[in-house]
Subunit: 308 residues, 3 copies
């Protein structure tokens, strides 16, 4: 028997059994929503606050829809206009919002550790959900990627997964690694320019490579990461064309992967930089399924954390 | 028997019968809302997304209220913070939002044809509603203007309607023309500075004039358009006073129209530029009725498009 | 028997009996919300519009939550994107919003008198709630401060209340004075740098002082005000350290007040400028209780004004 989670900050210490429960619940919620849009009332009268210190319309909208479809009250705390601009500390913002009797705070912050910091100081009744902190974690993304894979592959254990791009600065990559490792995936390969790969110490059991052709060989799942423009210089490559040549996913390279390999990307995609348009839109792309699953996974996390 | 519309992009090809159905439905919905504010549950659990690439609090708020009063979930996609700023294409934004299982997208964009482009690429379950694109169309404005007129005049056929201002760049004018023509109005006169009038080829059956005194003569309805400050130079007039003298609606000029002629304006009004304050606030002004009708027309359009 | 209020602009002319009714109702609503988060349906289908011309995420969020918990529709009118930027007058904005059939407008504006101006011009069915105008009034803050005090003190009459800081420019201070005076508080002392104190003519019955040590002596309640950075120069003090030395609340100074004196602050607090961190977080601080009460007071005001 597993105990109920109260916060979701990272998947590092979440067991495979609990993650499986999230995935199962997401699919139950999907089936319960006729056409994905019927409103359930599982969280009627509960209050959720979106606290995004970094802009992210995509993730915020996905969480907002998840709340609405569960009947919860959801309020966007527009941090650009907020007291934090008046010099209020994060802790004072946290305690102020808690005092308004929230059930959950969904937090995105560019600084690693902010959601964990909030958990340490949160009042007893509030759940904190990490919607992405620095390079650290984006746990609902990890879960939704796992769900997307599970919808196409019977078992996680035998899979080989290649993650390619700026792994070093990617909270998506870290949460994917924790999700897939926890669910039993045996082989994960990380690929990217040497300067954008994490240290071997961080992931001693994974294979690190600067050779995408080798890293994709026989892979069952290929997860491409978005290249932030500001990281281009760090790649030591002269331009985006060169990046695409070495680390972009085109059809020729995808042909090296296992037949029917799944292509994932957390979006928004840079067409022609990390992924070719015909691959992004092609038959092996699961990118839009990831988006659809994002709402169901967030509904699952909210119901799990806020259940009474 | 008319078939149900799935999208509303322009009134150009919408029949008078279908437009009449929208107007009838808007009035039924008005009557069903006690004091205009009771919430109906006709779209309970359906999801609508406001996707405004141009700022427009007025129209956005009107659509937002329409959604709430029908019990729909409505989410504002704040495009200023959005992925489109990260270089994501319009098509990728569309497909991403669709993947979240929306029922309708309400789109405003400065570029003519954007909503039509989205219709061509939209998934089968999504309705696209044009909330204004470039100079092209603003169909709910056309419908609400027609409704406002119908509430004061028994028949459309015998009416003479004068539209005055920057007709060339006005999506409101084009949608009004399509609405009123479709509903049977026999005489529409377009008036404005020559440089801001559309070509005679675009509207071969309409009367174009640079002489407002002549164009307003005997008119039953006078629709004044907002003069965008940035168009002042194009008028070839020295200043706003000169514009008002030639193309502004004051009481003396209104006296040339038919007795009790209706005065409309899509708002926000420039007092003293295109309309005199005492006319805007006078007994013949229907401007606030247009605003009230805006919510009911948008409720009507939403229920028509999203009905199951 | 008192008649029902339709607007709430200032507490100046609200009787103690009516204020007591607001406080009682706030506590009833608090008890009716299990854990403060259950949604009541007292204002189901009613429409409230947040019209904030000054940024204030904290107050706006508090009102927004109050509306949601009463089942009302609440829409944020994002004035930064609004027609007022296109030169539309306040009056035209008011009438446009009214025409959409709102039940209440919650208004914040930097200019004193804006909400009162709107009341004079509002249509008959609309309630205007002042969420802060210039230096004039912030009535829901006055009520929530009174409620916070009443939760700890049996009677208002015998209390001595000290308000310290930039009283001259503080709408919070003025509404606190009106609330507490109306509820019977016998002694209110105002303290701050001479240049930031109101004139003796404005508050002839109150004690004005530039000596915080004297003003806090024996006080039962100490209300600290936020020092706006842009007012620092007006204090004639060299820096924030000097301000804190003269007008900041630390433990030594608090020890001069009555035993167990209550410490209030409207937030957001400037730690180390007007209040020491260990006082803000200490056992006598009621700051977070004020935040909690803010939602209940606003629910009480909304139900009172919008009841049918």
């Amino acid at each position: 028997m597993t105990t109920r989670l109260r916060h979701l900050i990272s998947l590092r210490d979440v067991s495979g059994a609990v993650m499986t429960r999230f995935l199962d619940r997401a699919e139950q919620l999907r089936d319960a929503c006729a056409h994905g849009t019927r409103s359930l009332d599982l969280l009627r009268g509960r209050t959720v606050l979106n606290l995004f210190f970094e802009p992210s319309t995509r993730t915020r909208t996905s969480f907002e829809l998840a709340c609405h479809r569960l009947g919860a009250i959801v309020v966007n705390f527009d941090i650009n206009n907020a007291s934090t601009n008046k010099g209020e500390s994060l802790l004072d913002t946290l305690h102020t919002l808690e005092a308004m009797h929230l059930d959950a705070l969904i937090v995105r912050h560019r600084k690693t550790g902010t959601p964990e910091f909030m958990v340490r100081h949160a009042a007893s009744g509030v759940s904190v959900i990490n919607a992405g902190d620095g390079n650290h974690a984006h746990p609902t993304q990890g879960l939704l990627d796992a769900l997307t894979i599970r919808q196409h592959r019977a078992e996680f254990e035998p899979l080989t997964v290649t993650i390619c791009g700026d792994v070093q600065h990617s909270r998506v990559a870290r949460s994917d690694i924790h999700a897939l490792t926890g669910l039993g995936v045996q082989q994960i390969r990380l690929c990217g320019p040497g300067s954008l790969l994490p240290s071997a110490e961080e992931f001693p059991k994974l294979i690190l490579s600067e050779d995408f052709d080798a890293a994709i060989e026989g892979a069952d799942v290929v997860i491409m990461l978005r290249l932030q423009k500001e990281r281009m210089a760090a790649t030591l490559l002269p331009n985006e064309q060169a990046y695409f040549k070495h680390f972009g996913l085109d059809r020729a390279r995808l042909a090296r992967a296992a037949p029917g390999a799944l292509v994932l990307h957390p979006g928004p995609i840079n067409r022609g930089i990390e992924i070719a348009p015909d691959v992004a839109d092609g038959p092996q792309s699961r990118i839009l399924e990831q988006v659809a699953n994002s709402v169901f996974i967030r509904m699952a996390v909210l119901t799990e954390l806020l259940a009474r």
